[in-house]
């Protein structure tokens, strides 16, 4: 069994509303899975079921082979969980909370001290350990939650929006932390910050209306963007029409559009027909026509566009089906 976290057909209904509709996925050690979706898509509900907090109406979640519903204690021993909003006991100090978690995790004495010290260091909490949780800023609260989740060096980490409310430096730090731990662990992070997927995730799953609508690496998802491998170039203003004509005649290129047009130069974007790269063909064609190219860029495609495309088209399709 190589998969550390397995979700098998998880389903959850709240009254007539189906929040999560048969989600199945597996996370292997070394994988950091980014769980994306618009608000209300069922991200948190899925995470809660995976962590064993919410009981699914159907389906099973397994952590290191242990069913979180029937073999909860064993499953939870392998799990570090950061709930949505990083709740904490307001009257406890950060250190007190970590000690409490360590004690529940069965750590005592020197082992507990080592684990707590290491968690404090990794979450960079040293300056606030003796402050009560209620006096901490949002960012520190989140890091206390993170420290609690990684305290016992778990095999599986489920982090619900771990960087929400952090400033750019803290975000960077948390991402580094996640990357550092990634090698031996199976990690799921939910987020709606798409740059996070590029920064830390080895794989991204997009859900919408409780269903998985895309699953792949960031690069694979970007390939679905309309402008993936599109070429943007800047030519002298006088060459614009000539360049357009040359590009339209080229095999493998689709639409050609003018992005911007100034006094000295103009910017053009040419889309490929397939996902294959057209950059060298474009460059060669322009050179053959003796058009001087001032700049040339190949676009990767933006995750935002793919995300919006997938989640909104799915929603529209469903509306058509219902209507």
């Amino acid at each position: 069994m190589t998969e550390m976290l397995v979700l098998d057909n998880l389903t959850k209904r709240f009254g007539p509303f189906v929040a999560v509709d048969g989600i199945s996925l597996e996370v292997k050690p070394g994988e950091v899975l980014g769980f994306l979706g618009p608000n209300g898509a069922g991200k948190s509900t899925t995470m809660k079921m995976a962590a064993g907090f919410l009981i699914p109406d159907a389906g099973i979640a397994r952590i290191c082979g242990h069913d979180v519903a029937t073999d909860a204690r064993a499953a939870k021993q392998h799990l570090g969980y950061l709930p949505e909003g990083a709740p904490g006991y307001s009257e406890m100090t950060a250190l007190g909370m970590l000690r409490f978690a360590a004690s529940i995790r069965g750590l005592s004495g020197a082992a507990a001290r080592t684990a707590i010290d290491s968690a404090i260091e990794r979450a960079d909490l040293a300056t606030v350990v003796n402050q009560t949780i209620e006096t901490l800023s949002k960012g520190f609260k989140r890091r206390v939650g993170l420290a609690q989740a990684i305290l016992h060096d778990p095999d599986v980490l489920i982090l619900d929006e771990p960087t929400d409310g952090l400033d750019p430096n803290q975000k960077h730090q948390v991402r580094n932390l996640i990357r550092d731990m990634a090698a031996q662990k199976a990690i799921i992070i939910s987020t709606h910050i798409l740059e996070e997927v590029d920064a830390v995730c080895s794989r991204a799953v997009i859900i919408d209306r409780g269903r998985i609508v895309a699953d792949g690496t960031a690069r694979e998802l970007k390939r679905r963007a309309e402008n993936h491998n599109a070429v943007v170039m800047r030519v002298a203003a006088g060459d614009l029409d000539k360049a357009k004509k040359a590009l339209a005649a080229l095999k493998g290129t689709g639409r050609v559009e003018t992005v911007s047009r100034g006094k000295t130069g103009a910017r053009l974007r040419v889309y490929p027909v397939t996902t294959k790269s057209i950059a060298s063909d474009v460059a060669a064609a322009l050179k053959a026509k003796r058009i001087h190219v001032q700049e040339l860029n190949v676009e990767e495609g933006r995750l935002e566009d793919v995300f919006r495309d997938i989640t909104s088209s799915e929603a529209e399709l469903a509306e058509v089906a219902n209507g």
Binding site: F53, R73, K76, S103, I104
Partner: protein, 244 residues
């Protein structure tokens, strides 16, 4: 067992994390004094016992135990920490018992702080200290049972005020059930067996038995079963609606 103690320790610390704990202890001790001396007429009776002190305990608990129990679960729900707690490797039963235990220890401490009255009665006369000890045990048992009721009510809601009111109402039923008023009214319309059953369900009747100095197994069994029943209901409540 270890987990139960860890939970109980955390909860107990949480009680003392705010000044409310000290206020509560002061109010408890002051009120027992008021009931004993003014309403129970401890000095005027001229009897060296603590009956005027103990007889009002269930009534005091009616108001004070819900104040202790209301935050146990409602606060966890409101702040979302329940999600953190229940995803740690603990069972629901361990958490339920740990939380209840913390409240019980706290109430025990309140009871211990009433020791000046025991000294007083021993200075003034020659009371039966066995009866007093039994009464303390009985009072502690009533507190434990009411606390179990209150904890279960707290698990039903995220609102501490609602938790308080629900707990007070249910505890009230268990106190009033044994009062002459209810039993007399019931005797008029219901068969004797039912009236007796109502009386037997009442915490008051069993507490009075113990406070008379007879630590009877049936009375102790009553309080233990009442506590266990409500703790069990508490576990079920949490299991069924953990995330609500």
């Amino acid at each position: 067992m270890g987990n139960i103690l860890t939970i109980a320790k955390r909860e107990l610390k949480a009680y003392f994390g705010t000044p409310i704990a000290y206020v509560f202890l002061a109010i408890f001790v002051a009120l027992t004094g008021v009931f004993t001396f003014f309403i129970g007429d401890f000095l005027g009776r001229g009897v060296a016992d603590l009956q005027p002190f103990f007889q009002y305990h269930p009534w005091l608990y009616l108001m004070l135990v819900p104040a202790i129990s209301m935050r146990l679960w409602a606060e966890e729900r409101k702040s979302g920490t329940i999600e953190l707690l229940m995803t740690l490797p603990v069972t629901t039963t361990e958490v339920v018992i740990g939380k209840w235990l913390a409240g019980w220890v706290f109430l025990g401490l309140a009871l211990v702080l009433t020791f000046p009255i025991w000294i007083t009665v021993n200075v003034l006369g020659d009371p039966d200290n066995g009866v007093i000890a039994a009464s303390y045990v009985g009072s502690f048992m009533v507190a434990g049972a009411f606390l179990a009721i209150g904890a279960c009510m707290s698990a039903l809601t995220r609102n501490q005020v609602i938790a308080f009111v629900l707990a007070a109402v249910v505890c009230f039923l268990f106190v009033m059930g044994g009062s002459g008023m209810v039993l007399d009214a019931a005797a008029g319309v219901l068969p004797d067996v039912v009236v007796q059953a109502i009386g037997n369900m009442s915490a008051m009747v069993h507490f009075d038995n113990i406070a008379r100095g007879t630590l009877d197994v049936s009375d102790l069994t009553y309080f233990v079963s009442l506590t266990v029943f409500w703790l069990f209901a508490n576990v079920l409540t949490i299991e069924l609606k953990k995330a609500d």
